[in-house]
């Protein structure tokens, strides 16, 4: 990439010193950004510049940088993960922007996700939901033979579609009500579709929903913003399945 082909961008980044500090949007310039860079690499370069200038670098979450860990959590220009279909921030490339663009970068905003610093939020609430029922309680032992438990292909595919959730929290960040119904629905649906998970389905849905409420998430009002924001394209049919599983659980002790 030659020097003159790089883009110059204006970033408006949410800066907040700590959980209880007051945050605000600060403006920074990103110079000579290559369209081949990922969004996080662009932020890395901005941070190097900031360090050289003696300014505290922007804190942001990241881990695998290959779109599967669910750590990168930024609302870019008003959309979680930047709005490119089925793409996490780390897989969003600077070729989706053009020279002179202004980019607003904010953290996930929800009562259940308190800000730790700058763009870093605490997503432990999602772990709490999983801990309250997102598992099968029996000991499974070693790895079983491939076809030891016969599962129809359709059920396996359905469970896999739900299991694609990486727990990034974009569904909560995009939701006007900050609810985690898509996240919870995906896990409840995945386990309810499989023979190992069916046995505890009723108890699971009750416990997970109770925890969801305790963590301070809102209620679903069917905007379907979550599916549109999800980098894995988890379908809202899993929320309908969650509702169905809840209805069933009312009649099971």
């Amino acid at each position: 990439m030659s020097e003159q082909n790089g883009m110059n961008l204006t970033l408006y980044v949410w800066r907040q010193k700590g959980p209880n500090a007051t945050g605000k949007l600060e403006s920074y310039q990103a110079h000579n950004v290559s369209p081949d860079e990922s969004f996080l690499e662009m932020l890395d370069e901005v941070n190097e510049d900031l360090i050289k200038k003696g300014i505290e670098p922007i804190a942001f979450d990241h881990d695998c940088r290959e779109g599967i860990c669910g750590m990168c959590s930024q609302v870019i220009n008003g959309v979680p993960h930047g709005g490119q279909d089925r793409t996490t921030v780390c897989q969003l490339h600077m070729r989706s922007f053009k020279d002179g663009d202004s980019i607003y970068i904010e953290p996930w905003r929800a009562k259940a996700f308190p800000i730790v610093k700058d763009l870093v939020v605490d997503r432990a609430a999602l772990d709490k939901i999983i801990q309250s029922g997102g598992y099968v309680s029996c000991h499974t032992g070693g790895v079983p033979d491939g076809n030891a438990i016969p599962i129809p292909k359709k059920a396996a595919d359905y469970a896999m579609d739900a299991a694609e959730c990486i727990g990034c929290g974009a569904c909560v960040a995009g939701c006007p009500n900050s609810t985690a119904m898509l996240f919870t629905g995906a896990k409840v649906s995945q386990l309810a579709a499989l023979p190992q998970g069916k046995a505890e389905a009723a108890q699971r849905v009750r416990e997970m929903l109770k925890t969801l409420e305790e963590c301070g998430f809102g209620n679903c009002s069917n905007h379907y913003e979550c599916q549109a924001a999800c980098p894995k394209g988890i379908n809202v049919k899993f929320i309908a399945k969650l509702n169905r599983e809840y209805m069933k659980s009312i009649f099971i002790k």
Binding site: R109, R206, G216, E225, A229, R244, M247
Partner: protein, 222 residues
């Protein structure tokens, strides 16, 4: 009662009560259409007389509708308050990908409907004298509903109130109808667009049906 505490349980109650009221609106608009038949809104008087022929049933029906409305409004308001508590800070920039005007303004279209229902009952059921309702009987000695409605809608102000309220009804039902199926779990990726389409169509037909009455009377077609 577990269902009254659960996040989804309360939503299910809202969905069922809401859909019952949609059914009521459909029957109501069909009944109202009798004003188009017969001279001077004639047939609506016969319809109204039959409807009120057995007062105990009318009162049971009114109580049931009131209970449905109260449940729907109570949970509508409490769930909305909980939702705004769950989102304490707003984004500086927010772009919605899927949410629309109707889905985002359910609480406001709902409150407009609530205010309208109260007004409508005071207007045509209680027939509050300060609202200038033309009470009387027709040649057959029945309550003259046709004349009452026609007189009221010759007033542009009253016609406008009814028309605006029915636009709110359209927005509310266009999101609410499909929302019911999702909330009670009778939905998947194949049925989603079908329910959305049917919901908009039902909302449109019901709203147009209701709006046609004040609009046509105001334009002196009836």
């Amino acid at each position: 009662m577990q269902i009254l505490k659960s996040v989804i349980g309360r939503k299910i109650l809202m969905a069922i009560t809401g859909q019952c009221m949609v059914l009521f609106a459909i029957v109501h608009v069909l009944g109202n259409s009798s004003i188009f038949m017969g001279p001077n809104g004639g047939l609506i008087n016969a319809y109204a007389e039959h409807l009120h022929a057995f007062p105990p049933l009318v009162w049971v029906f009114r109580v049931v509708m009131l209970v449905l409305l109260c449940i729907h409004v109570f949970y509508g308001i409490t769930l909305t308050l909980e939702n705004s508590a769950a989102t304490p800070a707003n984004y500086a920039v927010k772009r919605h990908l899927k949410a629309n005007f109707a889905s985002e303004n359910m609480i406001w279209t709902g409150l407009i409907m609530l205010a309208f229902i109260i007004f409508h009952i005071l207007h045509f059921t209680v027939k509050l004298s300060s609202l200038g309702v033309a009470e009387g009987t027709d040649a057959l000695g029945r309550a003259d509903v046709g004349t009452m409605v026609i007189t009221a809608f010759h007033n542009a102000g009253y016609a406008a109130i009814y028309i605006v309220a029915m636009i709110a009804l359209f927005l509310h039902v266009s999101h609410g109808f499909q929302s019911f199926f999702q909330t009670v779990g009778l939905n998947n990726d194949r049925t989603q667009c079908c329910f959305t389409g049917i919901g908009k169509l039902v909302a449109f037909i019901v709203a147009i049906g209701f709006i046609s009455i004040p609009a046509l009377i105001l334009c002196r077609f009836i």
